[in-house]
Symmetry: C2
Subunit: 343 residues, 2 copies
């Protein structure tokens, strides 16, 4: 199959062997797969990521001497089965799945594994037990956004939002936008969001933010604390660079809950006294549960989460390296979909 | 009155003006006042503490050019009233109080204020609305431990301990021992505690720890994770020096809740990826609520918290500077009480 392959820490397009479905697996054709910021980071800091994964007990550890096909935000079409797979889905069915593959008693991360190629290639193998049928009437492109939206649903669930909480979303990239969508789904109001980029602030409003802040004009936390008017603050860190957590702890009001959804791979410096004097709570979050993934698909299908504004570009396999370059600049795109069937 | 005074960042014993009770205040004679590790820290790093207090929005900011009488863990005897004070307590009554004084529309920290001298002097003024009668039969010395024990009760309350949670207490100084006592009060079992000091490990056992670990023999988190057997881990950081939070995040099991009760006044470095990959929650805690303070007094009075093992020394006002020196070495004492009436 044709695929955009991470090889020697470079992204190259090549023809590689087709994946073969094992026991309990389905073979699928990738219809659409979003490019995730984590993939950009993984490509740029591959060795560091592997080292960090080993150190931090991350679920997946890559062998960088072998090919990796990334891509974990996908919608696909079933084309074949491995032995012993259930008949719950049939060839021609459109499916999404949590990007996990159970094989040989191990769990592989689809798109972050040497064994389980992701959606930047024409074919994938998925665990039959995990695939979910895409409801009729839901477009393939929108279904492919189930995974990144589920990240937001999970972050908001871990925040245990109460009716009068005041949420602030710092950073309106795909993670922040997913958090905004999930807050809207919960009925939180007003949803306050901050980003330096005008494009991202506009997207934040389309996804449900009631108030958008430009931190270049006034520190976001200062404006937020004033607007929150002493209601319990829940601050979502969706940036993921060193220093943001300190900024949040510095500006947060008493008793704020901070949800760290941004993925900061470097060391970070905090002042514990800020946390102590304000009795802050910091909840780090990752991924989603199977139930959250399924309910996110449903919310998209029913129009409760409108993902249409997020898709800003489409490329074939050959366009993946260029799309990675484009996405490195934050103010041009939100989500670019890889459609490997595209010429 | 005679008092141990922080003056020019030194502890000196001197005769200073008696405090005068204002409106809604009672004048009390200090019967016993525990020396707190925070006071040692405040003396040693006074300027830094003031700077940090300003930066972090701490409730109390000292003027170091003026005298400060520290001491916020006290039991006292009422000797007089200010104008308009309620008759809820009468001269001769023994009382404890949260170390707060409401005066002139401001809140002063008793023992951390230029206006509200603490228990290292013969006399204090307290807010009549905050004083609690010491139940008959409860010794003055034990009542004086209400404040430090309330710190543990609060930390455990913020941890929202559930029946099958597995608690680990890192550091068995007064804060860690208070947490152990509060965990015992909640019926947590087994309570695991770790400290390098044999004296502190012995005290941890007397306060209710079922298992004590010597980190010099084996990393405490490693031993704890094995013992917890996948039950939800709740880890209390009661050390308060840079690096401990990282150690805990590194060794913590998936989904652990970390309660930061140790007071680290310096910058600290963490690896956010550790928190993300394990979905850790970090709750910083400070102080206690009025209800927690009152219930702690009751628990001590009813013998549910046995504070007797904690008192390891007694000094008069003249002995305070020497006691500060002694307490700087962790393996000799736990709690030294200042008894200003002592010759």
């Amino acid at each position: 199959m044709r695929a955009a392959v991470m090889r020697n820490c470079q992204l190259v397009v090549d023809t590689i062997p087709d994946p073969v479905p094992g026991e309990g697996e389905v073979l699928v054709k990738t219809l659409a797969c979003g490019i995730c910021g984590s993939d950009l980071h993984a490509l740029k800091h591959a060795h560091k990521m592997v080292e960090m994964a080993k150190e931090t007990g991350a679920p997946f550890v890559l062998d960088l001497t072998r090919d990796v096909v990334m891509g974990h935000e996908f919608c696909a079409e079933v084309i074949d089965y491995g032995p012993g797979s259930s008949g719950a889905v049939r060839p021609g069915d459109r499916v999404v799945s949590m990007p996990l593959l159970f094989r040989g008693g191990r769990m592989e991360g689809v798109g972050y594994s040497n064994e389980a190629p992701g959606g930047y290639g024409e074919l994938m193998t998925l665990s039959a037990a995990l695939v979910l049928l895409v409801p009729n009437g839901l477009s393939t492109e929108h279904a492919a956004l189930t995974e990144p939206m589920a990240v937001g649903v999970h972050a908001v669930a871990k925040a245990r939002i109460e009716p009068y909480d005041a949420p602030l979303v710092i950073g309106c990239g795909p993670v922040g936008l997913a958090v905004i969508a999930a807050l809207k789904l919960k009925g939180a109001e007003p949803i306050v969001a901050a980003d330096f980029s005008p494009l991202r602030r506009a997207l934040a409003q389309r996804m449900g933010a009631h108030v958008v802040l430009d931190p270049a004009k006034r520190p976001a936390l200062e404006a937020f604390v004033e607007a929150a008017n002493m209601r319990p603050a829940v601050i979502f860190e969706c940036v993921g660079v060193p220093g943001i957590l300190h900024q949040i702890m510095h500006g947060a009001p008493l008793g704020a809950r901070v949800v760290v959804a941004g993925v900061c791979m470097e060391d970070d410096v905090i002042k514990p006294m800020l946390g102590i004097n304000k009795e802050l709570a910091v909840q780090f979050v990752l991924g989603y549960t199977p139930e959250e993934f399924a309910s996110t698909l449903q919310a998209i299908a029913e129009g409760q989460i409108d993902v249409a504004p997020l898709v800003t570009g489409r490329v074939g396999v050959d366009g993946v390296p260029g799309a990675f370059d484009t996405l490195a600049k934050p103010d041009q795109h939100c989500k670019i979909l890889v459609e490997p069937w595209r010429a």
